[in-house]
Amino acid sequence: MALDILDKANLQYKFWLKVLSSGIVSLLFLFMFDGSPSDAIPAFISGLAGYYICERIGAYFKIRFFAEFAGSVVIALIAIACVQYFFSESLDKIIIAGVMPLVPGVPITNAIRDMMAGQLIAGITKGVEAALTAFAIGAGVGVIFIIFGGTI
């Protein structure tokens, strides 16, 4: 009975609210990392667009870790375009702030908690998944840096 209620319950927030909050998270993380106010708008846009692309592609393709790759590609492209054509200053801070909604912190915490509780297999698999997700994000940013490396 309670399980039926839980099965039918809609516990998610609205999608547009999540996308908007990811943009705000990127904006606030820029200031937590001592960014300058001229980078605020690129950080907001890149965080918002990165999370949106990641969610959409993750729902569309069934390839693991491709969504994070595509999201970080979009984030790096927006950051490079803003640094080149607008008055933004620091490329690295925009990318770090924009990537914050994507990077796996909760799975790392859960993996350590699982291992401390004795669930060794669950902990190791979650840890490997978190590491591969982080690798995908880094690869996405790195590919864009290699392609546009001469123009920065």
């Binding site: 998270v25 606030l28 937590m32 994507l102 990077v103 796996p104 912190g105 909760v106 998944e129």
Partner: protein, 100 residues
Amino acid sequence: MIIFQAFISFFATLFFSIIFNAPRKLLIACGFVGAIGWIVYYIANSNGLSDAVSIFLEASPLVYVHISLQESTSVLSSSLMYQVSYHSSPGVSLTMQQRT
């Protein structure tokens, strides 16, 4: 500067909790725990301690506040801990949809 950092980290944690579907009545609590943790990290790190030591110091008030919030709101706060521990680990992933 510390007040500004506390303000910023409060709202950052709050919006992170929205991304990860925290229960609506826990959002303010998540914000407070995140702000307290970030303040401890910020003070420790700006006084010359290394990153690892600062994060280790950050974790103890996080757990204390988290337990006292659990007693006062009578909500199982394991999800609260997940939302606020993103400082200590590099970011948050999309797989968590833990609800109380």
